[in-house]
């Protein structure tokens, strides 16, 4: 039976996830250009009349884009990748249903107070800003739902191992399950913050909270969160982009090496977000800063492997020369081009990341517009544009309808690329000139509370980039809606299949260690205990539940 029919159940589950993801991106990203133009002095908030303040919009932008869109997309995508790669149904389908239902309930519970302006706490919800309790409970249920999706994949892979003793899991499933395992480990901090501090505090069960401890628990999850976004994009770059480009994956063992290293290194680095925090000593900050440079290593491996895979594709397409093979890649395919442009943007995002983590430099850029400029290259482009590229083949696959317009899709990818480069460059430089992030900057400038004449030309870049991105954003939804409602019905043999690439160097040629679980899970646990244990024990021992809640919005 063809895979698409065989996995009809999983296809429905995935469709629900992707549907919610694209809806979240739709509402969330609307605010991006509004914010960019606000900075540039143009107020367009009448386009979103249900929004009461800039910061309510910013909360929606951050929560819907960075948390809801990503998590739904990842859960749906990884489920589908896993079953197709293992050629095996999920072991307990009930978990898939429970997972997605919990996520939807959580989303609704968290979204209502935000839309009512009762949770204008941004996506980091730092206490003592106090949202309505349903916001915290909803966020928790949402995360628990994503855990249940992960459990489903764990049981499925486990069942596969029992059916295939002594075999290595196929690479796509291995990567998918590593991502989910990392997410389990990483979200422990957030879960403790919610269950032990935020929820009881917002319900009035405890009268105060310890903001420094809450921040520390938040960032325990906050950094690996970025790898939770990134690894599914890497998965696509490793095992799908080579196929879309008409080539092969260069090295399966090296792909495994990079993913097991992410499992080990993603979490014990959270203090690099807290370098300017008063309650953590300099030595610990330096230690996490050093480990952060370590987690850049598997990304560098990825860069090499992707480059080498594309090189193979370029040659197989008849390309020659040291670099001109790049032109032989099929740039006319939007599902490929979007992802290639995303990967190019990530080169700059990655370099910026190393800069941010470099201890002293962080003092210059921390919480400035530089940081916003940075993560629009990473999550806002490397991840989001890759996911949109995936949608360009996945949506036809799921719906059985042709993409509404491949030309529009190509135009979307390129406008995003150029819009983002302009926008992000403006933001980076604004940050170096002292512009704070998370700030209604146009209003600050008007009231002369914060001004700098050198900002003017940069604000034009931010506004121009934001405008181009707005066009790109509209183009995404012309295609999504167009495909669902007006896309040509595809004959069964026309429906795109999942583009899994073959590898040149196979898993079996590398060491077995790279396909095992225990050593890497043990390594992850060890590093977390070493890097967080003493600090957290001390913080809990000296906990001061003194801060009552505030709602200054």
């Amino acid at each position: 039976m063809p895979a698409r029919e065989k996995f009809a159940f999983e296809r429905k589950i995935t469709s629900v996830h992707i549907g919610f993801a694209m809806f979240a991106l739709f509402l969330g990203t609307l605010y991006g250009p509004l914010q960019a133009l606000e900075h540039a002095g143009v107020n367009l908030y009448f386009l979103a009349p249900w929004t009461q303040t800039y910061y309510q919009g910013l909360t929606l932008h951050g929560v819907l884009n960075a948390l809801i869109f990503t998590t739904f997309f990842i859960c749906g995508f990884l489920t589908y990748v896993t079953v197709n790669s293992l050629d095996r149904h999920t072991r307990f389908p009930i978990l898939d249903i429970v997972g997605v239902v919990l996520m939807i309930i959580g989303l609704v519970m968290a979204a209502i107070p935000i839309l009512l302006n009762m949770a204008t706490v941004l996506y980091t919800f730092y206490p003592p800003l106090m949202a309505h309790p349903t916001f915290y409970i909803g966020a928790t249920l949402f995360v628990v739902g994503s855990w249940v999706v992960g459990y489903s994949l764990f049981f499925t892979l486990y069942a596969w191992y029992q059916e295939h003793p002594n075999q290595r899991a196929p690479l796509p499933a291995f990567m998918a399950v590593i991502t989910m395992a990392m997410w389990q480990i990483a979200t422990l901090g957030l879960a403790i913050e919610e269950l032990a501090l935020l929820i009881p505090w917002s319900l009035g069960l405890i009268s105060g909270i310890d903001p420094q401890l809450a921040r520390t628990l938040f960032w325990y999850t906050g950094h690996p969160l970025v790898y939770f976004w990134l690894l599914p994009a890497y998965l696509s770059w490793y095992v799908m982009v080579p196929k879309l480009a008409g080539g092969k994956l260069f090295s399966d063992p090296m792909a495994r090496l990079s993913f097991v290293l992410f499992l080990v290194l993603s979490t014990p680095v959270g203090f690099h977000h807290q370098i300017t925090d008063p309650g953590i000593s300099v030595g610990w900050k330096l230690f996490h800063g050093a480990l952060t440079l370590g987690v850049a290593f598997p990304s560098l491996l990825t860069a090499y492997n992707l480059w080498a895979s594309l090189h193979i594709a370029g040659r197989m397409n008849g390309g020659k020369g040291a670099l001109t093979w790049i032109l032989s890649l099929p740039w006319g395919k939007p599902e490929l081009t979007a992802q290639l442009l995303a990967a190019i943007i990530f080169i700059f995002g990655g370099i910026g990341g190393v800069i941010n983590a470099s201890y002293n430099v962080n003092l210059v850029v921390h919480n400035t517009a530089w940081v916003s400029g940075h993560f629009h290259l990473t999550v806002g482009s490397a991840v989001a544009l890759t996911f949109v590229g995936i949608v360009y083949w996945l949506l036809p696959h799921l719906t059985g309808r042709a993409l509404f317009s491949r030309h529009i899709a190509l135009a979307q990818a390129w406008t995003w690329f150029f819009g983002m480069i302009i926008f992000s460059r403006g933001m980076h430089l604004m940050g170096l000139l002292g512009a704070p992030r998370r700030t209604e900057l146009g209003a600050s400038i008007k009231s002369a509370a914060m001004t700098n004449p050198d900002w003017n030309v940069l604000l034009l870049m931010v506004g121009l980039g934001g405008t181009i991105l707005f066009i790109s954003y509209i183009l995404i939804y012309v295609n999504v809606i167009g495909t669902i409602f007006f896309g040509r019905k595809l004959a069964p043999n026309e429906i795109p299949t999942i583009p899994f690439a073959d590898a040149v160097t196979h898993a079996e040629q590398g060491p077995m260690l790279l396909s095992q679980w225990k050593p890497w899970l043990a390594g992850a646990a060890f590093l977390i205990v070493v890097s967080y244990g003493p600090v957290l024990i001390e913080m809990v021992r000296t906990i001061e539940l003194t801060s009552p809640g505030f709602k200054p919005w």
Binding site: T120, Y126, P211, I275, L293, G434, P511, T546, S547
Partner: protein, 165 residues
């Protein structure tokens, strides 16, 4: 890089070279950053003092926020950030050129962020914690300080300045 056709090694030799270079560069950055941190005096805050945000303005140095001249060109400033009115107290500080000023910052309500323009001083300001950092003002002029952590709908107005004369 050549397109491999045989499988003599599971790691391509060029890839091995890439790995070595990557590790060397990353370790190099690590060392550079650590050394620079110590050589130039690390500016990031370390735990200094805990306070009770509910009572911090009633007694002790934070009950009279402002500048104190310690003599010999040394000054200290006790400063409070607050979301009631979104202000830094004090809002303005005057010191002579060449002064070394140590800032002690806390919040009596939500989290704030303190960034002093044209210096390396950049610290989170949390209720319950005191953030400490020092700057020497070598040049005359205005040094605005802005809040860089969202602290409510008036956050964008929360600024002040050091005037060095």
């Amino acid at each position: 890089m050549t397109t491999p056709t045989t499988h003599d090694h599971w790691i391509d030799p060029y890839e091995k070279a890439w790995m070595v270079i990557s590790v060397v560069v990353l370790i190099g950055i690590m060392i550079a950053v650590t050394v620079a941190g110590f050589a130039f005096g690390i500016q990031a805050p370390s735990p200094y003092q805990r306070v009770d945000p509910n009572t911090v303005t009633q007694s002790g140095p934070f009950s009279k926020p402002g500048l104190t001249d310690l003599g010999g060109g040394q000054y200290e400033v006790y400063m409070i950030g607050t979301a009631s009115g979104w202000i830094w107290e004090p809002k303005e500080i005057r010191v002579p050129v060449g002064s070394r000023v140590t800032f002690y910052l806390t919040s009596k309500d939500v989290q704030h962020g303190f960034m002093l323009w044209n210096t390396n001083l950049n610290m989170m300001v949390l209720p319950g914690q005191v953030s400490k950092g020092s700057v020497t003002f070598e040049k005359p002029g205005e040094y605005p300080y802005v809040c860089h952590e969202y602290c409510g709908i008036g956050h964008q107005t929360m600024s002040g300045k050091v005037i060095v004369e």
